[in-house]
Amino acid sequence: MTPLAAYLLLAALVFAIGLGIALTRRAAILVLIGIELMLNAANLNLIAFWRFGPHPEALTGMMFAIFSIAVAAAEAAVGLGLVIAYHRHSRTADLDAMTRMKG
C-alpha cells in the first residue's frame, strides 16, 4: 500500500462521512457542513495526487486545491445566507420541514 493509497483512502472516508452528514442530519446547516467536508476531502485528493503524481513542479494540483478552497468559501457564504433567509421566513432550520412546495 503506497502512501498515496493511504491518503486517498482517508479522503474517501472523509468524503463518505461528509455525505453521511449531508444525508442523515435534520438541520439544514449540517448539510452545508457536510458539503464543506466533502469539498475538503476532494482537496485532499488533489494535493495527494499532486504530491505523488507526475510533474509536481507544474503545481497543477495545488492550484486546483487553492481555487477549490476559494470557491468553497464563496459557496458556503451564499448557502448560509440562504439558510438565514429561510429561517427568517419560517422560523425553522429543519430540513424535513422545509417542504413549502408540497403539492
Binding site: A22, L23, V31, L95, M98, T99, R100, M101, K102, G103
Partner: protein
C-alpha cells in the same frame, strides 16, 4: 296554367302544326277566344285581393269583365253567323302544344263553332243579368266581395268549359266550376246545412268526375289525343272514331260505347241525373243568384253541353234508324230523371226546392232530347230553359227578399198585389216552363223533345214518361204560383216589392223567355240549322210534317190539363192557413209522404253507400292508426331507443372515459406535484445514489475496456 298556355300559344304562332291553319291566319276573335274565360278569371283574382268593404270595386270588376266577355261572345257569335251565311266552314279550331314529352305532346286548344257560340252568348248574357241582380240581392251581406270573386271565377270556369277543344282542358275548367259551385253553395258556411250541402254537392259530382276521368284516360290511350277537333286527327273525328269502334270495351260494348258511357257518368253527376241527383235540391242552401246561375242556367247545363260536344262519340256506329247503347242509356236515365223530378216537385214546400226539382226534371228532358233527337233538340231546350229557369229563380229570390227571407210557400200568398213586377215576370217564366202553347219558348223546345222521343227508334217508354212529366210540370208550377201569388197572405209582417236592380233583369229574362221560341219553330228551325250549319228557309210547310200537328195538339192538351188540375186544387180553393193540409196530401197521404221525402233517395244512400263508405273509412282509419301508425310508432320507438342507447353510451362511456381520463390526469398531476414537493433530503439522497450508480458504471466500463485493472 294561363301563362303556360300563353307561352305555348306564342310558340304555336311561330311553329305551326302540320296541315293546320296558321294561328295568325285565324280570325281575330278565334285567336283571342281565350279572353272570354280569362277576363272573368282575372277579375276574380283581382277581387280576391280586395278587402271586404270595397263592394263597388268588386261588383264593378265582376260585371265589367262579364260585360266584356259578353261583347266578345257576341263577336264570336257574329263570326260564326257570317261564316254560316257565307257557306264556309263554321268550325274554327286553335290548338297548341301544352306539354311536350319528346316526340309526342299533350295538346290543348279552343274551338269556336255554332254550338260553342250559342252557349257563349247564353252564358255571358244570363250571367251578366244575374251579376247585376246579385248587386241588389247581396247588398246587405257582409261577404259581398267574396261572393263576386267566386261568381267571376265560376263564370271564367264555365266559359272555359264551353270553348275547350280538348277534353283535358274541359276537365280542368269542369273542376274549376265544381270548386266554385262548392264555394258558392257553402257561401254561408256558418250555417251547418249549407256546409253540409256544399260537401254533398262536391262529393256527388266527384263520383261522376271519377268516371269522366277514366273515360278521358281511355280515350287518350286509344286515340293518342284529347283534342276534339284537330283537322281530322281529333278524338271525335272520323279517323279516331273508326279506331274506337273497332276496339272492344267491356260488357260487349265497343270502346266508343264504353268511353261514351263513362263521359256520360260525369255529365250525369254535373247535371243531376238519377242516381247522382241528390245534391241539386240541397244546393238551394246557397244564395238565390247562385241557384239561378249555377243550378239552373249554366253549371248543370255543362253536363248537357258535354254530351252535346262528344255527340259524335256517343252516336258512333249507329246507322240511320238505329241508336247506340250509350244513347239508349242516356235516354232512359233522362226520362227517369224527368219523371222523378216532376213527381217529387209536387210535394215540396220550399219555393226554391220546387224549382230545384223542376230543374232536375228539365235536365232529364234535355238528356232525352239529345239522345233521341240529336244535338240541336237538346241544346234548344237548354237555351230556353236557361232563360226561363233563371227568370224563375231570380223571381223566387225576389219573393224571398220581399218576404224577408221566408222560403216556405205555405206562409206566403196573395203576393201579386204587393209584388206586381215579380208576379208578371214569374207568370211568364211559369208558363214557359209548363210549355204553354205558341207564345212561350218552352213550348217549342219541349215539344221538339217530345216529338223526337215519339219518333225514337229505341222505345216509346221515354215518350210516355215525358208526357206524364209535362202534365206534372204544369200541375206543380200552378200549385206554386197559386200558393205564392194568389189567395191571401198567410205570413207575418208585410211583403214589399224588390228594387229595380233586381226586377230589371227579371223583365229582360221574361222578354227572352217569350222571344226565343221563335228560333225553334218547325216553320223556321233556325236553331237546328245554325247548329248543323245548313241553310234554313222560312217555310210554313214545316208544320206539315206528318204527325207533328197532332203531337203538338196532344202536348197542348196535356199542359192545359195540368194547369187546370192545379188551378182546381190550389187556385180556386185558396189555402187558409199555413198549417192546413195540402189537398193532395189529404187525398193520398202515403204517396204524398213518399214524394215529400224525395222517394227516400237520400235515406237509401245513407243506409247503403254512406254506411259502406263509413265502414271503409273506419277500416282505413284503423289501418292508418293501428297498422301504419303502429309501424311508424315502431320505427320512431326504435329510433328513440337508439337515441337512449346513444345517450347512455355517451354519458357512461364517452363522457365517463373523458372524466376518468381527466381524473387520471389530476391524479398523475398530483403524483408529479408530490414528487416536486421540495423535499430536499430526498433529492440529496437521490443525487448521491445517482452519483453512486454512475460512478460504478464508469468504473465498470473502464474496467471492461481495460483502462483500469481491477
Amino acid at each position: 296554367m294561363m301563362i303556360a298556355s300563353c307561352a305555348s300559344l306564342m310558340s304555336a304562332l311561330v311553329e305551326p302544326q302540320m296541315g293546320a291553319v296558321l294561328a295568325c291566319c285565324q280570325p281575330w276573335i278565334v285567336r283571342n277566344l281565350w279572353l272570354i274565360p280569362a277576363l272573368p278569371m282575372a277579375a276574380a283574382g283581382l277581387i280576391a285581393l280586395l278587402k271586404q268593404p270595397y263592394k263597388k270595386a268588386a261588383a264593378g270588376l265582376a260585371i265589367g269583365s262579364m260585360f266584356a266577355s259578353f261583347l266578345l261572345a257576341l263577336c264570336a257569335f257574329s263570326r260564326v253567323l257570317l261564316s254560316w251565311h257565307a257557306g264556309t266552314e263554321t268550325r274554327y279550331v286553335l290548338n297548341f302544344d301544352w306539354l311536350s314529352m319528346g316526340a309526342s305532346s299533350v295538346q290543348l286548344g279552343w274551338v269556336l263553332d255554332p254550338l260553342a257560340a250559342v252557349m257563349l252568348v247564353m252564358v255571358t248574357f244570363v250571367g251578366l243579368l244575374i251579376f247585376i241582380y246579385s248587386v241588389g240581392y247581396m247588398a246587405h251581406d257582409v261577404n259581398f266581395t267574396r261572393f263576386f270573386c267566386f261568381l267571376a271565377l265560376f263564370a271564367g270556369g264555365m266559359l272555359g268549359v264551353i270553348i275547350a277543344n280538348s277534353l283535358l282542358l274541359l276537365f280542368m275548367c269542369w273542376e274549376i266550376v265544381g270548386l266554385t259551385s262548392y264555394l258558392l253553395i257553402g257561401f254561408w258556411y256558418f250555417k251547418p246545412a249549407a256546409a253540409a250541402a256544399a260537401k254533398k254537392a262536391f262529393l256527388t259530382t266527384r263520383i261522376g268526375d271519377i268516371f269522366f276521368l277514366l273515360g278521358i284516360a281511355w280515350l287518350f290511350a286509344q286515340t293518342g289525343t284529347t283534342l276534339f277537333y284537330n283537322y281530322g286527327a281529333g278524338a271525335i273525328e272520323s279517323g279516331a272514331l273508326k279506331v274506337l269502334l273497332s276496339q272492344p270495351g267491356a260488357l260487349g260494348l265497343t270502346a266508343a260505347g264504353g268511353i261514351a258511357l263513362l263521359i256520360f257518368a260525369g255529365a250525369a253527376g254535373k247535371s243531376g241525373q238519377i242516381p247522382l241527383h241528390v245534391w241539386l235540391p240541397d244546393a238551394m242552401e246557397g244564395p238565390t243568384p247562385v241557384s239561378a246561375l249555377i243550378h239552373a242556367a249554366t253549371m248543370v247545363a255543362a253536363g248537357v253541353y258535354l254530351v252535346a260536344r262528344v255527340y259524335p262519340l256517343m252516336d258512333a256506329g249507329a246507322g240511320p234508324g238505329q241508336t247506340t247503347v250509350a244513347l239508349t242509356v242516356v235516354a232512359w236515365i233522362g226520362a227517369a230523371t224527368a219523371l222523378y223530378g216532376a213527381l217529387v216537385a209536387m210535394a215540396q214546400n220550399d219555393i226554391k226546392r220546387i224549382l230545384a226539382y223542376s230543374t232536375v226534371s228539365q235536365l232529364g228532358y234535355m238528356m232525352v232530347g239529345l239522345a233521341t233527337g240529336g244535338v240541336a233538340v237538346g241544346m234548344f231546350h237548354l237555351i230556353t230553359h236557361a232563360f226561363f229557369k233563371a227568370l224563375l229563380f231570380l223571381g223566387a229570390g225576389s219573393v224571398i227578399h220581399g218576404c224577408h227571407d221566408e222560403q216556405d210557400i205555405r206562409t206566403m200568398g196573395g203576393l201579386r198585389k204587393e209584388m206586381p213586377a215579380t208576379f208578371y215576370t214569374y207568370m211568364v217564366g211559369m208558363l214557359a216552363l209548363s210549355g204553354f202553347p205558341i207564345f212561350f219558348s218552352g213550348f217549342w223546345s219541349k215539344d221538339a223533345i217530345v216529338g223526337s222521343a215519339h219518333n225514337w227508334v229505341g222505345s216509346q217508354g221515354p215518350f210516355w214518361m215525358l208526357l206524364t212529366g209535362a202534365l206534372l210540370t204544369a200541375f206543380y208550377m200552378t200549385r206554386q204560383i197559386a200558393l205564392v201569388f194568389f189567395g191571401k197572405w198567410r205570413g207575418d209582417g208585410h211583403a214589399h216589392e224588390s228594387p229595380l236592380v233586381m226586377t230589371a233583369p227579371l223583365g229582360i229574362l221574361a222578354f227572352f223567355a217569350v222571344v226565343l221560341g221563335v228560333l225553334g219553330t218547325p216553320a223556321w228551325p233556325w236553331f237546328t240549322g245554325f247548329l248543323e250549319s245548313r241553310a234554313v228557309p222560312f217555310d210554313w210547310a214545316g208544320f206539315a210534317e206528318p204527325g207533328l200537328l197532332p203531337l203538338m195538339g196532344v202536348a197542348s192538351l196535356i199542359v192545359f190539363a195540368g194547369l187546370g188540375l192545379g188551378w182546381m186544387l190550389y187556385g180556386s180553393k185558396p189555402r187558409e192557413t199555413a198549417e192546413a193540409l195540402d189537398p193532395v196530401e189529404r187525398a193520398l197521404p202515403t204517396p204524398f209522404g213518399w214524394l215529400a221525402h224525395r222517394l227516400y233517395f237520400d235515406e237509401l244512400y245513407g243506409v247503403t253507400v254512406l254506411r259502406w263508405y263509413g265502414w271503409l273509412a273506419g277500416l282505413s282509419g284503423w289501418l292508418d292508426t293501428a297498422v301504419w301508425g303502429g309501424l311508424v310508432a315502431l320505427v320512431a320507438g326504435g329510433f328513440r331507443e337508439l337515441g337512449r342507447v346513444n345517450k347512455a353510451v355517451d354519458t357512461k362511456w364517452i363522457d365517463g372515459s373523458f372524466d376518468k381520463g381527466c381524473e387520471e390526469l389530476v391524479t398523475g398531476g398530483g403524483v408529479l406535484a408530490w414528487l416536486q414537493a421540495g423535499r430536499s433530503p430526498g433529492y440529496l439522497r437521490l443525487l448521491a445514489f445517482g452519483v453512486l450508480v454512475l460512478a460504478g458504471l464508469a468504473l465498470l466500463a473502464s474496467a471492461v475496456s481495460g483502462q483500469v485493472r481491477l
